[in-house]
Structure formats: C-alpha cells, structure tokens
C-alpha cells in the first residue's frame, strides 16, 4: 500500500501536465528502496506465519541481510549513474543520482547498526518481537524515499513514512514511562513541524507553479519574480520543517528529551539515519534547487541556524549530567557543523556534508552502542556517574568509547577531524571566515564535553569496584556493531581518499537543471 502511494503521488501532481496516462516505472531504479520496504513487509508476514516459533535472533538477522542487500543493490545503480549521468525516473518524481545513492548507503548502514544493537537490547529488556525491525526497515524506506525524491510531495511522503515509524519506535519500550513520554513528545512536535514543511511546500508551489524540483529550478532561473514574498515564506516554513528533523537550534528542544527517553538503539538510528535523510532533503531543496537563484535569501537563515546550533549544542552539552542528553546536545552541535557546509551552498559544501554524515554515522552509532551496553537492564543507567571507573573495570570498552568521543571532538586520524576539515574548507572557499572560526571555536567548547566523559571513565577510580561487580554483558550484535563503527571511524580518518572521492563523485552526478 505504501509502495502505491510512492508511485501514485507524482502521477497525481503531474496529472495536469502529463500528456499520456501513467508514466513508465523503472523498478530497478528504486531497487534499494524496494528491498528495504519489501523486507519489512515480508518480515512481518513471515513472523506472523511462524507464530512465535522463529528464533529470537531471526528478525535481527533478517534486517541486517535486507539492509546489506539494499547496499549491494546500490553498486550497479552507482555504476549506471557514473556512466550515464544523473537521471530522473517515475515521471521526474524520483532522482537517481550519486547524491541519493550515497545517502541511501548511509541510511542502510545506520539500519544495520540499529538492528545489531536492537538484537541484544530487546532480549535484555524482555521485549522481543519483530515489530522493532519492521518499523526500522519501513522508516529507512521512508528515509531513502526522502533522499531520492525529486518532487516536494514525494519528499513529504518519505518524511512521513520515516517519521511515523520513528515515533512508534521511540515509544516501543513499554516498560519505561520515559520512553512513552518521549514518543508522545516526538509525535506532537514532529507532526507540528511536518505541518510547517507542508505549508512551506504549498507556498512554494503557489510561487513557482510546480512541486517538481527541477521544474522549480528552471522556473526560477527563467523567470524574475516581481513579488517573491510567497516564495520566501515558503523557504522559511520549509526550513522550520527540515530544521526540526535534523535537530537544529532553535527547533531542537525535542531532541534531548527524545534522545534520552527513546530506547538507546533507536536513538542511534535517529541520530544517524534520520539525520542523514533530513539533511538529504535540506540539501536537495535548498542547495540544489534554490541555491543558484535564491542563495542570497536563504543562506542568511541557514547561517543563523548553524551558529545557533553550534553554540546551543556545545554550551548546553557541557552542563549536562546524563550521557544520553550530552550526546543529544552534541548531535545538535554536529548538525550545526553540517549546516555550515549547507550554508556554503556549493558542490564542495554538499560533498563535505555527505562525508560528514557518513563519518558521523560511524561515530554516533558507535557511541550509542556503548550507551546501549552501559544502560544495562532497564536502559536507565546513563548518568555520567555511572561511567565512573569504566576505564579500570572494562578497559576495552572504555578505550573504544574514547575513540568515538575523541573522533567527535575532531582529533586527527579519526573520521571526525577530516569531516570538520572538509566543512571548514568548503565554507572558507566561499569567503565565510567568521562562520569557520565560530564553528571551530564551538568545536573546542564541545571537546570539553567529550573530555568530561573521558575524565569520568578514566580519572575517577572510586566507583570502579561497583562497576566491576555489576556485570556488563556485550551481546554479539553489539560487538559486531562496535567493530564496524571503530573500523569505520579510523578508516575514514587514516585512509580517507576513497570515500572523499566517492562523495565528490556523488555530488558530481546530481539531478539538477542545467541551463
């Protein structure tokens, strides 16, 4: 049913313009999306048919396999895009380009990480069930739809599929009241922000006469609007909608509560996959579509969002005492950093944002993997004091967490350094020196936050005995996730050449209007 909506939407919007009935559907072009979606639906069916006779690891393995298949399906598409160039399918509603494929890859990766973490988590919490994984796959499918949408309506539908599943996932921990509170909060505020986005889309349609991004772009470059108030209002409303999804200040207030309340593996997915999808939408709408013509109008808005996110994220983070909340604020400041790259509004900035999103996926899912493990039964021990003496009790775990924290602080030879470097590079190339300095200085403030966790883990030994006694189990899934995250974090830091080229190639093949 969902599949039909995705296909029908462009038909409805373009009905007036389409001369001949239904457009041709090239299924192979949306193969990754189909795999994720069908994987989710099939999982639900299979588990229902088996009536609880399937082993508890089955849905997790299914999800990992599905997401891996989706990743593999990207390869022939990537080759096709690099050979034939960017193209649109489904009557121009879906863009098949390097950008969408790159973001799809990030989302698949984040699904794999989320499923690996969920496996041990649901067992520990006594909440086994296939629903977690079905929702995860469907949410990811929405994210991929959003990333590859070349039409505002399709993008909105993708966003809703992504979000509705995420609302439910947030509230899935039925034994914790804070999880349900977080789910409700996320839902109410999320629905509100979706309304803003939709309103912005409507205004943009009113101003430009189309919801198709390429058409909008062509219209704006061919036409000089005598009155652009409608369009500018559309920008502002859409920015509110996207700003909410990516957790940018001042639309961030949901993030700390939701990150803290949501089950930790879901938070990991939220911070990586949902953020990537949100940024994909933001980049495609603002940088690609409005960048060439109306950059001067929306860039100051993004400038303000970036500065606010950097400052709020880093300064609020250092006064927190809960590690999950700290990471929530740190994710706001990371969003600010990526917004700096958006503000550059250049191909360089877009590829810097893509690199950053991939690097951040490794760093943040790794961090939340540790948080998931440290939460112990009940998913409640997330205070900074609960990490005291970890360096003595579990040196390996503490060292890995240190790698993620230092990477987020931007220490060289980790993914965090180069992602920051590329962002600074892109924004300096546009002559925005002040923004670059603000970003770097706030990164130093944020570094203090990461050091606080390191200090708690290593430099306070009084609580070590207590930690030693409480057995911390690392499930198989979580340990695989940790390995992937560590390898990814260091690989992007030490041998970044291949991924950098990949990000640059991705941006080189972008569905856009070329005059």
């Amino acid at each position: 049913m969902i599949a039909r909506i995705v296909q029908d939407a462009p038909v409805q919007t373009l009905a007036a313009e389409a001369a001949s009935g239904t457009p041709e559907i090239i299924w192979s072009a949306i193969a990754p999306n189909l795999i994720l979606m069908l994987g989710g639906v099939l999982l639900l069916t299979v588990v229902s048919l088996l009536r609880g006779k399937s082993p508890s690891w089955f849905p997790a393995v299914w999800t990992v396999v599905t997401a891996s298949l989706a990743l593999i399906a990207l390869i022939p598409l990537w080759a096709r895009v690099q050979d034939e160039g960017a193209q649109t399918v489904m009557a121009g509603a879906v863009g098949l380009d390097g950008f969408s494929l790159f973001v799809t890859g990030i989302i698949c990766l984040s699904v794999i990480m989320g499923a690996l973490l969920l496996e041990g988590y649901v067992r520990r919490e006594g909440l086994e069930g296939a629903e977690w994984y079905v929702l995860l796959l469907l949410s990811a499918s929405g994210g991929v739809t959003m990333a590859s949408a070349n039409d505002l309506i399709v993008m909105f539908i993708g966003l809703e599929i992504l979000s509705v599943a995420a609302y439910v996932l947030t509230a899935m921990h039925s034994k914790r009241i804070s999880s349900q509170e977080a789910g409700l909060k996320y839902f109410v505020l999320g629905a509100f922000s979706s309304a803003f986005l939709l309103y912005g889309i409507a205004l943009t349609y009113g101003a430009t006469g189309s919801t198709n991004l390429v058409r909008i772009q062509r219209f704006l470059s061919d036409t000089v609007l005598t009155q652009n108030g409608l369009l500018l209002a559309g920008f502002a409303f859409m920015l509110v909608g996207f700003g909410f999804k990516i957790g940018a200040a001042p639309f961030h207030t949901w993030a700390p509560d939701v990150y803290q309340g949501a089950p930790s593996p879901v938070t990991a997915y939220m911070a990586s996959g949902i953020k990537a999808a949100g940024f994909a939408g933001l980049l495609r709408v603002f940088v690609v579509t409005f960048g060439p013509t109306y950059g001067a109008d929306w860039r100051p808005m993004v400038y303000a969002l970036a500065v606010l996110s950097l400052l709020v994220g880093s300064f609020m983070a250092i006064v927190q005492t809960n590690v999950k909340r700290m990471l929530a604020y740190s994710s706001i400041s990371h969003a600010g950093f990526i917004l700096v790259a958006v503000e550059a509004s250049s191909t360089q900035g877009t590829s810097a944002a893509l690199f950053y999103l991939l690097a951040y996926t490794f760093m943040v899912t790794g961090s939340f993997a540790i948080v998931t493990i440290m939460g112990r039964t009940g998913d409640g021990t997330h205070a900074l004091d609960d990490y005291r003496g970890l360096g003595r009790a579990r040196p390996g775990l503490a060292l890995i967490f240190t790698v993620f924290l230092l990477a987020q602080a931007g220490v060289p030879f980790t993914a965090g350094f180069l992602s920051k470097f590329y962002v600074i590079n892109s924004v300096v190339a546009e002559g925005q020196y002040a923004l670059a300095v603000i970003a770097m200085v706030s990164a130093v403030v944020a570094a203090f936050l990461y050091l606080r966790v390191v200090v708690a883990m290593y430099f306070s030994e009084d609580a070590a005995a207590e930690l030693m006694e409480s057995k911390i189990k690392i499930p198989v899934g979580a340990s695989i996730a940790l390995v992937i995250a560590v390898v990814g974090t260091l690989w992007l830091g030490i041998l970044p050449g291949a991924v950098t080229n990949l990000a640059n190639d991705a941006v080189a093949q972008l569905v856009a209007f070329k005059s």
Binding site: F413, F421, F459
Partner: protein, 560 residues
Amino acid sequence: MIGTLLNSSTQILASKVAEEATSVSDFPVIPALIITPLIGAVIIALIPRSRSDLYKQIAVITSVITGAFSIAMLVAFKTEDSGYQFVIDQPWISDLGISLHFGVDGISLFLMVLTGVIFPIALLGAKVDHDPKPYYGWLMVLMAASMGVFSSLDLVLFFAFFELVLVPMYFLIGLWGHSNRVYAATKFFLYTMLGSAFMLVGLVSLAVLNARAMGGPITFDLVEIAKNQAISVTAGRWIFCAFAVAFAVKVPLFPLHTWLPDAHTEAPTAGSVILAAVMLKLGTYGFIRFGLDLFPEASHWAAPVMMTLGVIGIIYGAICATMQKDLKRLVAYSSIAHLGFIVLGVFAFSVQGLEGSILIMVNHGISTGALFLLVGWIYERRHTRQIAELSGLQKVAPIFAGVFTLVMLSSIGVPGLNGFPGEFLVLLGSFASARWWGVVAVSGVILAALYLLWAYQRVFHGPVTEPNKGFRELRLTEGLVIAPLLVLIVFLGLYPKPMLDRIEPSVERLLAHVDAEVDGFELREVKFVAPLPGEVEAGHTEAGHTEAGKTEAGHTEGKP
C-alpha cells in the same frame, strides 16, 4: 636490548658504508621514525596483562630503535645541503591536494634527533606505579606523533600531528600525574585545541587563497605555498595571526602561558621531560617553519610584538620562578624564560639569532629534561617537591648534588656548557637588529642564575634535617640513564660547531627567502672585528662564531 640497538645501528651504518650514501637516502627513514614507535604501541596493546613485565621492555626497545634511526639520519644528513632531505611525497587525499610530504632540513634535524634520544631516557629514567600497559602505549604514540610533527611538509599533515600529540599527553598527565592532574590535563588540552582551531581556519584560508591566486588546483604543500607567496599582504597578516595564536599557546607566550606550570607540575616525570624537551618546541618550530617561511612579510611586520612578548616571557618567567616554593614548578617557569629567548631569536631576523634559537631549542630540551628527571628522582625519594622541606642534600648525596649542579649550570647558561652558545647567539643576533630588546633580555641571564642558584642553595646546602637524612645517593642505573645527557651538556657546550654547520645552510636559505620577499628588509649581523685565522682559510665568515663568541665576547658586546 642493547644488542638490538647495536645491531640495527651497525646494520644501517654498514649498509651506508657499503653502498655509499645513496642507499641511506633511499631508505625511508622518516616513515621508519614514525612507524617504529607505532609498531611498539600495537605490540604493547596486544600483550596480555599477565605479561606486564614486557611492556617496559618493548617500549624501551622500540624507542631505542627509533633513536638509532634518528642518529642514522643525522649521520647521513648532508651538511652543506640547505634544502629538505630524505623527502617522501605521496598523495594522501588527492582531490584536495593533501599529501604525505615529509622531509628534514637543518632546522628540524636536531629536534628529531633530540626526540629520538630523550624518549628512551625518559622511559628508563621514570618509574610508573600503576597501569603500565596504557602508559607505555601512549608514550609510544606520543613519540610517533612528535616525529611526525617535526618532519611534516604538508599543512594538513602537520596540523594532524600537531593535534595528535595532545591525546597521549592528555592521558599521561591525567592518569599518571600528581594530585591536581585532571584539572591540569583538561586545561592543557583545551588551551592547545583553542589555538589550533584558529590555525585550522588559517591554513585552509591560506590554501584556498593561494590556489585562487595561482589559478591552479588547491594544494596544502608547505614548500609550494612558501615558494609562491601569492596571497595579499593583508590576508597574509591575518592568516599569520591565526597561526601565531596556535603557536603562542604552545610555546607558550606570555598571556597564554598559564597552562604550562600546571601541566608540567602535575605531569609524571616522563611526561614533564617530554613536555619540556619536545612538545614546547612545537610552538617555536612552528614559528620558524610556518611563520617565517610561509609569511615572511607578516612575520617581519609582527616581529616587534613577538619580540616584546618573548622578552616579557624571559623576565616574567624568571621572576615567577624565583618565587616558587615547588621545585618542579620552578623548573616549569624557567622554561617560559628559555622559550622567551627562542622567540626573541626567531624574530630578530638574523642568522645568529635564528641559529641561536635552534640551539636553545635543542639544549633547553637536554638540560630541562635532565632537570625534570632529577626533580622526579628527588620526589621519588622524599615524596615532596617543596623546597622548604628539602635541605642539606649535598651532604647525604654528593654525587646527586654534583650532577644537579652540572645540569643547573647548563640551564643558567654558564660558558662551556650547552646553555651558553644558544643564548649568546640570540643576544648577539638581537643586538644587531633589535638592540633594546636584547638589552632587556640580558637581564634574564642574571635572573636565571638567581633563581636556580638560590633554589640550589636551599635544597642542597644548609643543615641536614631529619627527614632528609635517609636521602639515597644516585644509583648506578640512574647515573647511566642521565649520563648521555651530561655528555651532551658538556660536548655541545664546548663544541657546538657540528650542530651549527648543519643548521646554518638552512637558516641562511630561510633568511634569503625573507630577504627576497620583504621590501626594505635588511639583514643585520654582528660582524667580527677580525676573522679568526681558521675562518679565512675556510672562506666562511660566520662559521665557528661560537668559539669566537667566547673569545671575542668582549669585542662584540662593546662594538655594536
């Protein structure tokens, strides 16, 4: 262990002799200097905790091998060559013109050798009371990063190593330091990172503007950008300031120095030794390599301010040192004074000043490293560093006192020991180009004698109080550990010419570069009244001026 050292060094020397110098310059010595300690760190990480006795051995062996490589590099270094040697240039991130570009010239050579020598000594000379595995692991990472930072010729690569050294040092201070270690470690990390934040923006701006002016693809290659000098004067000055903040924190220069006394005092002995010997030099080295070479015009423009800050550092560090009650803190403040001399010499823009600065960088590393080792041994014996609680040590431990005296005199800058030639050349160089700064700086020499001799008097002389009666004499192992430093103190004091011969071509090239780029720049030097007989034959007017320095000190100081 020593066998391994001998083996590796003889192998290198043998291969050199056998196949002439070409084979040595083909051997990738700089990557070896960086990778060897890293291999050590990996081995240490893989050894299980049950074999904890192996950690120190592995660390010592790998650091000694690295030290042997650095000495082999010194031997193979071509004395008269002013350019970069042992160059490695491989693409790293080709899309952005970032490369793994390494090379050594006379300016960085001795800093790398110092790193190679001081690490094994610090490892052997300081004990660790808990968690040996991460301790030795981090030290090895620190060694690799230090080697990397002195040999990087790419801006991004340099920055990466420059930041990377923070992490191991942060853990060394935070985990094995003294009572107030967490505060000191965090302060150290954040101060340096704040400085680096500006440098990162600066270096990206530099590369972007350089590429725009040259019309080519973007490059972060130091040699290329320094050669082009394509950016405008205003931009150059702004970017220089961004770099200068980072280096000024690291040096540290006067208003940004407050992390240093804390970090040095709270660090474990090995950490203090390495902080003083190696890490403080990152700032002054940065000023030469990334200040003078990249921004000759801006450096010349900023010279009065920088020299003033250097002189303030000399006086302020000395006054603070005089008032310290804690012996280790005293040594820490004395570093600020010494580093002030270096900055003065760098920005005096004369051959003698620059050479003197590089000499002080190395010799301060040797003598202050040795001082920190001795203070660490005092602390091991007495569990206090308070000067007031120590008294009469000379009577119970005369050899210890003798060693301390020698090191202290070298730190004061007594002629004949290694502290003298550098300080003398810096003063000579600054008299020629910036006389009044030199005049004020001279008082630093007297103040150094004041605070160190006074501290010596209080600690080693006087009546032997009850708790000091059991103060143990210098052990043989300790003596063997510090012996190389004592030999260097005397040798480099009496005969610094081998160092100067290697430093001079690079310094002259650097100043020629400044001369070519800065309008109205005039290289001012103190010319000797009559060249020494040997110098005329060598056709070298400036060479050997340290020897001359001692004999003709009266002339020159009266002359300018």
